[in-house]
Amino acid sequence: MAIDKHTGMVEKRGAGLWLTHLGLIIGVLFIFFPIWLAFVASTVQQADIVRPPMPLLPGGHFLENYGKALTSGINAPVATMLFNSAVMALGISLGKIVISLLSAFAIVYFRFPGRTLFFWLIFLTLMLPVEVRIVPTYEVAANFGMLNSYSGLIFPLIASATATFLFRQFFMTVPDELAEAARVDGARPMRFFFDILLPMSRTNIAALFVILFIYGWNQYLWPLLITTDPSMNTIVMGIKQMFPSGDDLADWPVIMATSILAMIPPVAVVIGMQKLFIRGLVDSEK
């Protein structure tokens, strides 16, 4: 192995470099293939699909299929489901960020009775995903009359403390001098919160928003239980409802157009805010 002063000696050059690229390209193709196929299926007619093999290149029915999905869909127009998903995802991410910022501020900057107890109570919520307590949580939502409502889609999923922990950790790193100065200036706590703490937390809030938006958008089991009315379905859970029961043939072009539409918002968020996304991912696993 020749040593080149411009590159390290363990990186690949020549044939090895091409093999490395080849291996990565195969990986990328494996990742892309299911989505490519879904896209192709969303641009052809049902007749092209039911006589396998289906074409591997897009057809000319893009507008027709997407138009049909968005305006009429199968049980409910996909445009309605997209709107429901957006409300749910934004409600969960913004709601969680707001209540977590407030409680983290209280835990870090105040000494109040029950503070330790409160801290441990929310710590416990880290341990129990909604999937585990679905039956009783469903009963609570039903008793509150939250079935088929946005509040039913949003509130039960806000009840977890990941964000509180993140903000707590971040607030601990904020220099004490800032709070000291604010206190000397006679600034009230909420003034300090809004004028100093909140602007400093901008990046953390944005990173967390990316992760929570994807989490909210991709929820499946909870909307499946809580929305029986098709006009309240979210898009991710609504796709499964588009399959006919029994032996009837599914309307694949419309279903695949819906699948593509369901992917676009979260994928756009990940690609558009890649740096924040990676930061949020690493932060939320600490």
């Binding site: 093999p53 585990v132 806000i158 859970m237």
Partner: protein
């Protein structure tokens, strides 16, 4: 860790924690308490009264062959999902790490399936392997292989494993690549000067140095396979054929909502609760290691 400087006040902090406390109490502690309470009763079919059975629901569950089978299914499923997604991700990360230029491009191309919901991933893979119209099914047929995950239990398991592992590769790739890039190049080059070939270097230096990342991902992926793959299973197999893909979380759902067997479903929730608790404690220990490493 405590702040040196704090503000004075009693009502303000209580007001600040009130929203979170209220939501957690109503949608978390009350339901979790209910799950534990209900697991000790059998409700009558009309839901009018409850009969105390103590640990009867648990005894019944643990002797139920379907429940025990579901444990085995969950174990097989989680191990396969973890091994497949971590294996592919490590392979791709090692390749991307060898590039001087362009690893960022591959990262962009590889991370976005993270954003695809498990349920949508399920529909995509179901479409490819559909018994009537699936492209892959059709090409397998040409090769003389008759794919039918609706009837064949192993094929059903294989399909839900691939569909679950597929979207997870992004996440693992990201962490593996970061782990690999954190290993000082000088260590690896020193070994190369000593004549160690790629595979030897990987086995004796890179992989051991990567072990904190690997342990961390192991736990996170098992938690993912346990709890977040419901969408994949519900869209592709609905737990079938013959419960071959009924993992524990799916069984809580099907016993609780489809069969309305509330006592048993609650007891299953409690058992899952214990499992998550154990995994979380395990995870915190490893994160401790990760920080000190």
């Amino acid at each position: 860790m405590e702040k040196r400087v704090t503000f004075k006040g009693l009502w303000l902090p209580l007001l600040l924690v009130a929203p979170q406390l209220a939501i957690t109490a109503v949608f978390f502690f009350y339901p979790a308490g209910q799950a534990i309470w209900q697991s000790l009763f059998i409700p009558d079919p009309f839901g009018l009264s409850m009969q105390w059975v103590g640990l009867g629901n648990f005894e019944y569950l643990l002797s139920d062959k379907y429940y025990r089978a579901s444990f085995v299914t969950t174990a097989v499923f989680s191990i396969l999902v973890t091994v497949v997604s971590m294996g592919v991700a490590l392979y791709l990360a090692v390749l991307a790490d060898r590039l001087i230029k362009g690893s960022g491009t591959y990262r962009t191309l590889l991370i976005w399936p993270y954003a695809v919901a498990p349920a949508v991933a399920g529909v995509l893979w179901l479409f490819m392997f559909n018994t009537r119209v699936g492209v892959v099914t059709w090409y397998l047929g040409l090769l003389g292989y008759d794919w039918n995950h609706v009837l064949n239990e192993n094929e059903a398991m294989g399909l839900v494993v691939i569909a679950s592992a597929w979207g997870r590769i992004s996440y693992n790739f990201l962490f593996f690549l970061a782990g690999l890039q954190a290993i000082p190049k000088s260590v690896i080059e020193a070994a190369a000067i000593d004549g160690a070939r790629f595979w030897t270097r990987f086995r004796t230096i890179v992989f051991p140095l990567l072990s904190p990342t690997t342990f961390f991902l192991l736990v996170v992926n098992i938690v993912y396979a346990f709890f977040e793959t419901f969408g994949v299973i519900h869209t592709i197999t609905s737990g079938g054929p013959q419960q071959a893909t009924t993992i524990l979380v799916y069984k809580v759902y099907s016993d609780g909502f489809v069969s309305q067997d509330l006592g048993s479903s609650a007891a299953q929730s409690v058992i899952l609760l214990v499992i998550v608790g154990a995994l979380t404690i395990f995870q915190f220990k490893f994160i401790e290691r990760r920080v000190h490493y």
